[in-house]
């Protein structure tokens, strides 16, 4: 098991100009690490659909690397998307899965069959160009550069420690940061994309 924050620290040196988006509880650490916020996108709203939105960005901008930090709870809600992604096979798509084996946001209930699912195996069978599984930080750190040099779609499953939220919703610290429309506006300005 790896700390979610450490995954982002391992990725950041190899980011280059990649576009980055994220979902899930662990994903909230990415803005703490990112040094290029105008290429960070918040796309989430409907659980499980950030994966499809990131896929859409990858299809629309084939010359840019697109990186998604997904969560297993979200992916299970939209599992067919791995077939959709593999079918179009965007070479610029890097699909990281941060697997904490539970719905951390709702108090830590396990996802179905939490400890036994081989997500990388599913992605491989669906047709991703290459897949990886990591439980050890050092292995992840040493592999990151070569992973980011590969043609996608690449799937990287990483077991992470959960950060369970148990407080009543009214007492929780809000995420803050830029809203979805603000990140989209900043992103389109950065890449010279006319909004329509």
């Amino acid at each position: 098991m790896i700390e979610g924050l450490e995954v982002f620290k391992a990725f950041q040196p190899h980011r280059g100009d990649a576009i980055v988006t994220h979902s899930g509880t662990a994903g909230r650490h990415w803005p703490e690490v990112s040094t290029n916020p105008n290429r960070d996108l918040r796309l989430e709203s409907s659980m499980g659909q950030t994966t499809s939105a990131a896929f859409g960005v990858a299809l629309g901008l084939p010359e840019e690397k697109v990186v998604l930090f997904d969560s297993e709870g979200a992916l299970l809600m939209n599992l067919g998307v791995i077939a959709s992604i593999a079918g179009k096979a965007p070479k610029n798509f890097y699909h990281f899965l941060l697997d904490n084996e539970m719905y951390a946001t709702t108090g830590g209930q396990p996802v179905p069959n939490a400890k036994n699912i081989d997500y990388a195996g599913m992605a491989k069978s669906a047709g991703y160009a290459s897949t990886y599984s990591f439980t050890d930080l050092e292995e992840l750190v040493t592999s990151m550069e070569s992973i980011m040099d590969e043609d996608g779609p690449v799937f990287i499953s990483i077991k992470i420690n959960p950060e369970v939220q148990n407080l009543p919703m009214a007492l929780r610290k809000r995420g803050g940061g830029r809203s979805r429309p603000e990140t989209i506006k900043d992103f389109q300005k950065e890449l010279g994309i006319a909004a329509h």
Binding site: L43, S45, A53, G56, L59, G80, Q188
Partner: protein
């Protein structure tokens, strides 16, 4: 016979409307009624067809394409539109961008009465979500598709074109 032919909706009409309105991607789940349209879309070198596995993926994939500066259309059936409800809410309506959704109106009849519950609930579903829609049955309704595109662009909201003739127009 001639009159019957004149009253169908040709798939070419949809393709022409897509091209006229600058569509770059069609996100779709093929169904038996739209097979010829699907094949025709694949032949267009200006159009990228994006097959998805479940209808909820369509509005969210469209959002990503819109963010990337492209012009997506969702082409699904009314059954799948209902399945896609939360994605339509969170990824299209709340995101606020122009999105034409072409929806096969399974079960619809001109008589009004239908034994197919999906037809019964289609328009109430759209009313509940506050989504404007246009009914297209024949080639002579083709201009309504451009009207729908205009409305998506001016409102920055999803707009639906209900295809009321899928049992004849797309089958060859």
């Amino acid at each position: 016979m001639v009159q019957q032919q004149a009253e169908i909706l040709r798939p070419e009409t949809l393709i022409e409307e897509f091209k006229k309105n600058g569509v770059t991607h069609v996100i779709t789940i093929p169904d038996s009624e739209t097979n010829y349209l699907y094949e025709l879309m694949l032949e267009q070198d200006w159009l990228d067809v994006v097959p998805v596995s479940r209808e909820g993926e369509a509005p969210s994939t469209a959002l990503g394409l819109n963010v990337a500066g492209k012009v997506p259309v969702c082409l699904i059936q009314n059954t799948g539109m209902m399945e896609a409800g939360d994605s339509i809410r969170g990824m299209a309506l709340d995101a606020g961008f122009p999105l034409l959704m072409v929806i096969g109106y399974r079960g619809w009849t001109r008589r009004g009465a239908t034994p197919d519950t999906v037809a019964k609930y289609t328009e109430p579903f759209l009313h509940a979500f506050g989504i404007e829609y246009f009914l297209v049955e024949t080639d002579s309704d083709g201009a309504r598709i451009s009207e729908a595109f205009d409305l998506t662009r001016s409102s920055k909201r999803p707009v639906v074109v209900l295809i009321g003739d899928e049992y004849h127009g797309f089958n060859r």
